[in-house]
Assembly symmetry: C2
Homo-oligomer: 214 residues x 2
């Protein structure tokens, strides 16, 4: 049974998954990178960017797990890039270079139609304009029985959580403050939605929390 999983989603102590003022220089908004700092030293991240070495402790175990058994991905348009409004041209193909780390179909939620982009390494970006249920349905079909990873950003994750579609969520809570930005929890009653904390593990640079749906 194909599950919808959130993996390695990093938030600050005050609940922000991204800072204010996202742009080309600050894809995660002001100070947003700080909440991801647990991820960068890991072997998994280094592999992802083609670098040698990296840590192999608890943080890396969670980082690696996030890629296991994933057959398709979903992300929001703001995670795909800084372009807003209608696509002006086909120039922007994501933050990740010619060979993105997904190696499977990626369904990008947007209000603006665009043709699929086939990248190196098995990643194809499909642009979905008819809503989150449609993206989920297409991703399930594409995943071929494997799981679907819901990558972010905050807004897309909140939309899927609020409908109860997420089966599994791993949050990495970083010991940082963002002060302002996109809050993951605000107005979202995860208890009412049926989520429970299954596991809490202290990594080297983040606390890893696993949530499951009852």
């Amino acid at each position: 049974m194909s599950r919808l999983r959130i993996e390695c989603f990093s938030i600050s102590l005050d609940g922000y998954g991204a800072g204010l003022n996202q742009d080309l220089e600050n894809p995660l908004g002001r100070n947003g990178k700080a909440v991801h700092e647990w991820f960068f030293p890991t072997l998994t991240f280094n592999k992802m960017i083609g670098q040698p070495g990296g840590t192999t402790g608890i943080d890396n175990q969670f980082a690696a797990r996030g890629f296991e058994g994933v057959g398709a991905n979903i992300m929001g348009r703001n995670m795909f890039g800084p372009v807003r409004g209608p696509w002006q041209d086909d120039e922007w193909t994501g933050w990740w270079g010619a060979n993105p780390p997904y190696h499977s179909p990626v369904f990008v939620l947007t209000h603006h139609k665009r043709e699929p982009i086939e990248m190196e390494g098995g990643t194809t970006f499909y642009f979905v304009t008819d809503g989150i249920e449609s993206a989920l349905k297409q991703a399930k079909k594409a995943a071929g029985g494997k799981d679907i990873r819901l990558n972010g950003g905050v807004s897309v994750i909140r939309q899927y959580l609020s409908k109860g579609y997420v089966d599994y969520m791993h949050l990495a809570v970083s010991p940082k403050l963002l002060g302002a930005g996109e809050n993951l929890f605000a107005g979202l009653d995860l208890v009412q939605l049926g989520y429970v904390v299954k596991e809490s593990t202290h990594g080297e640079n983040a606390t890893h929390i696993i949530f499951e749906k009852l």
Copy 2:
């Protein structure tokens, strides 16, 4: 120099310091007790309630620290009790029995005048009706050079934080969800207010975070 300290303030993963519907049976609101569960097994808590035994690990170290060097306390009226509106009589003297765990003056913020209550063991409750600055001033005077502990609840802590009056804050983040309730962080930009994370320590049942003001 007397500091204003928040100690052992417990919050859920989703940022709630208390649940909904606080009443006599649920002084911390619905499920609110869950965020304090790290505290109950400790030696410090057992001592506080006159019981033998208790854990002596990291959680206990933070619990014990919270009482060190404290010469006066401040709390909100909702933390003092479930009574709302004008005091009907002098019957309610707090949740803590004849000998409360404060052993020093406690300044209770309220809109309704009431005479001080002298309890056993050195605790006297003073009722302050002219605002948070007045309570802070009175507590400083009473503390005799020692620190002032700001006990809670969420609303009072937010008021003092938003004015930048808090010098030191220890939060115990419990691996629990409350889903709804009183959120500590909502709309409070701790970065802008000058707070930084000084320490993050993994206890047995909570993650302990120390914030200081730059």
